[in-house]
């Protein structure tokens, strides 16, 4: 049985004001993610990636279609879904006035973990993301990369079955991005977890087992990175994206490096 099963999922938004219209953010997508798979959602900003994650994690109701996560319906069994998923949001959602330890302890309590369980898991996870020496520092003092690592630890705190990562490396420098990926791969190895990831960094999707290319709310293609390159007969994912969608992933940018410099270090909203 698939860990994530999505059937014709849609979400529209009413845009008010002068240019009032109905925006199809997600337009009838269907796919499934197998247990233990690292599944990537690749697409430009505004393609519908975050909206999909919001729906699959019960923060937003779909306007059409249905989906099951870890065997539970995202509309009818919200609480069951909530218990089984861990999420790392695109923008930092840490309490910066609390310490790293307090942030994780807060999370563990929300998910009904016992005191002993929380303590053990916090020690283990802080060590894993190499923040054990900063456990009692206030998050305000952390760099962008440290915050991300702490959020990854927090997402794993309650032993989720599925981990959602919404642009986990957005706004981080290349070195930190590399570092974050080491953790993600470690999590996969050690916890055998299903991971659903969104990104618009083309080099990162090579790590995924399978990729869905999403553009304007629709899935254009879906396969393993190798098979996609074969299919379009091109050597890089960049070209795959170009062939599949007819445009670059971000027409207004030349390379990932340039993008880095123009961004705030903490990962801005889009």
């Amino acid at each position: 049985m698939s860990t994530i099963q999505v059937e014709n999922l849609s979400r529209t938004f009413k845009i008010k004001g002068k240019n009032a219209k109905i925006l199809k953010a997600v337009d009838g997508i269907s796919f499934s993610v197998n247990p233990g798979e690292l599944f990537g959602f690749l697409g430009p900003n505004g393609a519908g990636k975050s909206v999909t994650i919001s729906m699959l994690t019960t923060l937003l109701n779909p306007t059409g279609g249905s989906a099951k996560v870890a065997g539970h319906d995202i509309i009818k069994e919200r609480d069951e879904v909530r218990k089984k998923v861990g999420i790392i949001f695109q923008d930092t959602t840490l309490d910066i006035k609390l310490t790293a330890y307090e942030n994780l302890n807060f999370h563990g309590t929300l998910y009904g973990m016992s005191k002993e369980q929380r303590k053990e898991q916090i020690t283990h996870l802080l060590k894993m993301v190499e923040l054990d020496d900063r456990a009692h520092s206030v998050v305000e003092q952390f760099s962008g990369g440290m915050k991300r690592r702490l959020e990854i630890a927090r997402g794993l705190m309650h032993f989720p079955e599925v981990l959602f990562l919404d642009e986990p490396t957005l706004g981080l420098d290349p070195q930190t991005r590399e570092h974050i990926w080491q953790y993600i791969n470690k999590v996969r190895r050690e916890h055998k977890m299903t991971i659903f990831l969104t990104t618009h960094y083309l080099d990162e999707v090579e790590n995924c087992d399978r990729i869905a290319i999403i553009d304007s709310g629709k899935i254009i293609d879906l396969d393993t990175p190798a098979k996609l390159k074969d299919k379009y007969n091109v050597p890089t994912m960049n070209q795959v994206f170009l062939e599949a969608t007819g445009h670059g992933i971000r027409d207004d940018e030349l390379s990932g490096e340039n993008r880095q410099r123009s961004q705030r270090p903490t990962g801005p909203a889009h």
Partner: protein, 277 residues
């Protein structure tokens, strides 16, 4: 772990988080005392001395000194302004994304609302309680019974007023808009609450507003506790109060109204939080 215990822990950790924030920003507590001081020493002191000679005094011929009258009013003022405003922390969480971390958790929304309200209420309650320190300086004689009764009353009032803010936060995504609108709620509530003048002889048009204002019962309850414990006769106290269907509220009636008010608003707030966009 059983469910009740689990959800209690959730409400408690949400509460604790607000207290940690308050403690890490404790200088704010001292700054927050300056407003009540201005009202008590300058406004209260000035009014009391300019009214002391006149036969038709501000206190409706009850014989109660204006300073005694305004003291519980200033505590209520602090609670009115701080409590509704303290719900801002939830709007902040929305703006900075932390609310998402709370909302994706498998926790009933009512637990979240209660935890947030407790947190927001206690910071304003602490602020209100601190005003008691000022009492000796303006000639209000605090007795042990008075303090023991006032403190829980302050917490109840803080919770009731915070619940107004908790309903409001559902409609706001950014802090500026919330702060702007809050002023249109707490200013009229304050002026119509009887904090500054007795409500017994207000113009007819104002009368229904006064009686519908939850802050009126907050002021009345606290004022009764302060005055009863200074052996002021109940007739004199009633002259400073207002009657609903010819019945003067008692401390217990005030408490009852505030409790019902809190329960209704917290329920509405939980329903609003339960909506998924």
């Amino acid at each position: 772990m059983n469910t009740v215990k689990k959800y209690t822990n959730v409400a408690l950790i949400l509460w604790k988080r607000d207290l940690l924030h308050y403690w890490r920003n404790r200088i704010r507590a001292l700054v927050g005392l300056t407003m009540p001081m201005l009202w008590l020493f300058i406004f209260g002191g000035g009014m009391a001395s300019s009214l002391s000679g006149s036969s038709q005094s501000m206190t409706n011929g009850s014989g109660v000194d204006y300073i005694q009258f305004i003291f519980p009013g200033v505590i209520a003022m602090s609670l009115i302004f701080n409590a509704i405003f303290s719900a801002l922390s939830t709007v902040k969480d929305k703006e900075f994304g932390f609310l998402k971390e709370i909302l994706v958790a498998p926790v009933p929304r009512s637990t979240i609302v209660i935890g947030r309200a407790l947190g927001a209420a206690s910071t304003s309650a602490i602020q209100g309680t601190l005003i008691l320190i000022l009492a000796p300086f303006i000639g209000v004689h605090l007795t042990l019974t008075m303090v023991v009764l006032l403190i829980p009353m302050i917490w109840l009032v803080a919770f009731a007023l915070t619940s107004i803010g908790m309903v409001m936060v559902s409609f706001f995504d950014n802090q500026e808009a919330f702060q702007y609108v809050v002023n249109f709620v707490n200013m009229p509530m304050f002026f119509l609450s009887g904090a500054l003048f007795p409500l017994g002889q207000v113009p007819a048009w104002m009368n229904p507003l006064v009686k519908l204002n939850p802050a009126s019962y907050a002021v009345d309850g606290m004022r009764r506790i302060v005055l009863i414990n200074q052996d002021i006769p109940i007739d004199a106290i009633n002259k400073l109060s207002f009657s609903v269907f010819n019945i003067y509220p008692t401390v217990l009636i005030d408490i009852g109204i505030l409790v019902i008010f809190s329960v209704v608003l917290i329920t509405i707030s939980a329903i609003l939080f339960n909506r998924v966009p």
